[in-house]
């Protein structure tokens, strides 16, 4: 047990001055009557002095100075009272930072602990547990900056680049077929024979059976032009009861060419759905061929508008807007989960291994199901470890900076207090008073969690 007492000074060094004082203060009274096995207290102090000085210089002084600095303005000369502190909660952008930090503190540690617990329990049962643990723990070995860069790429909007959207698009496209000509529409300005109508394209004039319609389209992206598209042809002659026409890409390479008639060098648009409409009712339908022509048969008498319905043009599904204003914080929390779940898993797995087997066996013998064993025996026995993991993560999440800085790239919707602290004092704001105020606020918020951990540590000692 002597060995465990020896552990006090190094742990206390990490903890702070409070833990150091306790043994130092108790010692003289307790030792006086006994045989002197330990050195005198002045000698102990002499040995502790370098460490105390270092602590004072590197930890206590910066904290005290930050507190003082937080009551002064940007230049450091004018006393502003608590203005810097109230300023944290003023203005939309600052409130977003406060709100995001709250979301982070509530959501991130909980999810990471749960995922860590699930991994830890599952790895107990699989054969390649060590390999699996190694892989899950691996992200911890990568610097946060690099993780940020990786996830910036993962969340890219363009499915050709961002893995997240590539997966979403792939899943989506297996259920829904992509449309033919996204973005195509009538000519910009000028008097075109077609116009846009709520996403669909309709002709300005009306046509009846025996007539032919020309439907020029523009803005057709090269990548959507089918390979089998043939040069645009004049509409086939309409027999009685038929309505014919051509849908084609009315653009001659290099400009020029007569507008609104199919010229040489212009291609037809195959596969476009065409409808003849009157008073909102569809009376005939057709689909264009390779040269862009279509023929509607059995068209009743009367005049109709030719409509190319909306689903010819609706843009293909492009995936979610991961870095948009609503999803950005959850997306960054996702990357945090990727980094830290390994940490939680390893600690919880170690705790799991230390649970007495007989308790689990006894429960099983008494007829408990695996779920009941997990819920009623494993979790209560693990509770202290889970608390420590959670509290450690809370402390860590309060300071999350790198991931937000890299993935958010300065987007105010992703802001958190720790990042705000840097931006305000160094990243352009140049107001170290306000920055210190945020630092002190963060410190105060972290304190309860730290005290909780210190108390736990003491209880363990007893």
């Amino acid at each position: 047990m002597k060995a465990r007492n020896e552990e006090v000074p190094p742990a206390a060094t990490a903890g702070g001055a409070a833990a150091v004082d306790v043994p130092a203060a108790r010692r003289p009274g307790a030792r006086r009557g006994r045989e002197r096995l330990t050195p005198p207290s002045w000698l102990a102090m002499a040995f502790l002095l370098p460490a105390l000085l270092l602590l004072g210089f590197l930890v206590v002084y910066p904290i005290v100075y930050s507190v003082i600095r937080s009551f002064f303005d940007a230049s450091g000369d004018g006393f502003v009272g608590a203005d810097n502190y109230t300023g944290i909660f003023k203005g939309h952008n600052n409130l977003v930072a406060v709100r995001n930090t709250a979301i982070w503190v509530v959501v991130a540690p909980t999810i990471v602990t749960i995922v860590g617990l699930v991994f830890a329990v599952l790895t107990e049962r699989i054969r390649w547990a060590t390999v699996f643990k190694l892989v899950v723990f691996m992200p911890m070995a990568i610097s946060f900056l690099a993780s940020g860069v990786i996830f910036r790429l993962v969340y890219q909007m363009d499915p050709d680049k961002g893995v997240a959207n590539a997966a979403l698009v792939a899943i989506h496209d297996t259920f829904a077929q992509g449309t033919t000509y996204p973005g195509a529409g009538p000519r910009n300005g000028g008097d075109a024979p077609v116009r846009e109508d709520g996403g669909a394209v309709v002709t300005v004039n009306s046509y009846g059976p025996g007539q032919s319609a020309l439907v020029p389209l523009l803005k057709v992206k090269q990548q959507y032009l089918p390979k089998d598209a043939k040069p645009a042809a004049q509409p086939p002659a309409a027999k009685p009861g038929q309505l014919t026409g051509t849908v084609w890409f009315d653009f001659t390479r290099g400009g020029g060419g007569q507008q609104n008639t199919p010229n040489a060098g212009e291609v037809g648009l195959p596969g476009v759905k065409v409808e003849a409409v009157r008073d909102g009712k569809v009376v005939a339908k057709a689909t264009t061929g390779d040269d862009g022509t279509f023929t509607m048969k059995k068209v009743p008498d009367g005049t109709y508008t030719i409509r190319l319905p909306k689903d010819n043009f609706t843009a293909a599904y492009r995936g979610a807007e991961w870095l948009g204003s609503t999803l950005i914080t959850p997306a960054i929390i996702g990357s945090y989960l990727w980094v830290w779940s390994g940490f939680a898993m390893v600690l919880i797995a170690a705790g799991l291994a230390a649970i007495p087997r007989d308790a689990l066996e006894a429960a099983r013998v008494d007829g408990a199901t695996e779920w009941q064993v997990f819920r009623r025996v494993t979790i209560p026995l693990l509770a202290p470890v889970l608390m420590v993991v959670m509290v450690t993560l809370v402390i860590n999440v309060m300071k999350v900076f790198d991931l937000v800085y890299i993935i958010g790239g300065g987007d105010p919707n992703a802001n958190v207090l720790a990042l705000q602290m840097w931006t305000v004092s160094f990243g352009g704001g140049n107001d170290q008073g306000a920055g210190s105020a945020i630092a002190v606020l963060l410190f105060v918020l972290v304190l309860p969690a730290m005290l909780f951990n210190v108390r736990r540590l003491r209880q363990e000692r007893k």
Partner: protein
């Protein structure tokens, strides 16, 4: 037993992690002893220069410094400040240990340091050298409170649009000279199935938006209003600002004109916007200063044939000529610092640098022939033609909190404007509110 030891370890880990939270205060740079000793040829003098350049830009600058070393015998050490110059220099100034010479990316920062008393005024012969080589506007730009502190050592020409000639030929459009032609050309490009623009409106690179605005504003409202707005002597709620925003909305307000629509544009970084045009052929035009050539060279496209520039179309009477640039300042006393400043202001340094490429200077006495690449020759011609109407990038003249901070001030207000292009009044109000906070 095992649990408790483990918990001890976990708690210790937690404490270690949290102890970092307390230390959010200052930190200072390393120390080094550089004491200029004077002496005729500067032999034995060590000068420290800090600038933000890295990679090729740093290599070129080092060659210029080498020329200085050979001329004077001094030894020059280069220190990289990283992207955020103030975050690097601020603590060093506070610690009383600044570099001898620093290259600041914005004159606004120079003003700020000059007011703090962190800069040393230029010697008379350096001022004379500046007067010989630069027009009064640039001399004025390097001054604060009637004293000369800075020399524009390197400029970036920001009144150009890069385009893909292939896309222009296919659609049959010519590089436009006026704003209306630009809008029309964009429409024709879109008709031809090519997205006209990529826009780098990501929060970290919204400076491209301020550059668009400045080009349009200088062109419409003229240099005088431009100077006033830069000093915040007229408000951002002024009708001239509204008119410029309405003009910009003719392009920004059409999501179909922007590659990937607004959702992609507002997350695109500058380098991405360039590669989207010249690497992935996703659009026809992109805004970027002459420095975009460095980004283009990372793609297969060749500058000059696959990637060309045209002057930013004029939206009003004045053909816009906006420059960005880095200002050299002396931060320590001593002959070494002043000699180096004098060298940087001279055509001699400019000629060396121009020969290396990726460089432009408003220094009148660096002849166009000194420039090695053809684009730079074209630009220097444009710049010298614009003469006295050329202006410095407004956002870089503003306090950094307004004009140069990702996610804040003008950057974010214009980024929001890309998302809500019909809200001209609201954008102006936001710009004015942010400016009022920053200009104090």
């Amino acid at each position: 037993m095992r649990v408790s030891r483990l918990m001890g370890a976990a708690v210790a880990a937690g404490l270690l992690l949290s102890s970092a939270a307390a230390c959010g205060g200052d930190d200072d740079g390393g120390s080094d002893g550089s004491t200029p000793a004077g002496g005729g040829a500067l032999k034995g003098t060590t000068i420290e220069v800090a600038a933000k350049w890295t990679g090729q830009e740093e290599a070129n600058f080092r060659k210029v410094l080498k020329a200085f070393e050979q001329k004077t015998g001094a030894k020059v050490n280069y220190a990289s400040t990283g992207e955020n110059t103030d975050a690097y220099l601020g603590p060093r100034i506070e610690a009383g240990n600044p570099p001898d010479v620093a290259i600041l990316p914005q004159p606004g920062l120079m003003q700020q340091y000059a007011q703090k008393g962190a800069l040393k005024p230029l010697d008379e012969d350096v001022v004379a050298q500046v007067g010989q080589n630069f027009s009064p506007y640039w001399k004025e730009l390097g001054s604060s409170g009637g004293k000369a502190y800075g020399v524009i050592v390197k400029a970036a020409y920001k009144s150009i649009l890069w385009y893909r000639p292939e896309a222009f030929d296919e659609a049959g459009v010519q590089p436009p000279a006026a704003w209306a032609d630009l809008v029309k050309a964009a429409g024709t490009l879109q008709d031809a199935g090519t997205t006209p623009f990529t826009l780098a409106a990501g929060p970290q690179d919204s400076w491209t938006l301020t550059d668009w605005f400045e080009n349009v504003y200088l062109s419409q409202a003229g240099p005088e209003n431009y100077d006033k707005l830069a000093k915040h002597e007229i408000k951002w709620t002024d009708p001239t600002v509204g008119k410029a925003l309405e003009t910009l909305a003719e392009i920004w307000g059409k999501p179909d004109y922007l590659n990937g629509g607004v959702a992609t544009a507002t997350k695109t970084k500058f380098d991405e916007s360039v590669t989207q045009v010249f690497g992935q052929q996703k659009a026809a035009m992109v805004y970027g200063g002459d420095f975009a050539a460095a980004n283009i060279s990372t793609t297969k496209a060749k500058v000059g044939t696959d990637a060309k520039v045209f002057a930013f179309p004029k939206a009003g009477d004045t053909p816009p000529a906006i420059l960005g640039g880095d200002v050299g300042v002396a931060m320590k006393d001593g002959k070494g610092a002043q000699e180096l400043m004098k060298f940087l202001a001279s055509p001699e340094a400019g000629k060396v640098w121009a020969g290396l490429g990726g460089y432009l200077t408003p220094n009148k006495n660096v002849p166009p022939d000194a420039y090695s690449d053809p684009i730079a020759k074209q630009l220097i011609g444009q710049l010298q033609q614009s003469g006295d109407a050329a202006r410095y990038d407004m956002s870089d003249l503003a306090p950094a909190a307004f004009g140069a901070t990702p996610g804040k001030g003008e950057w974010e207000a214009l980024r929001q404007f890309v998302m809500h292009p019909d809200d001209v009044k609201g954008t102006q109000a936001k710009l004015e509110a942010e400016a009022a906070k920053a200009y104090k």
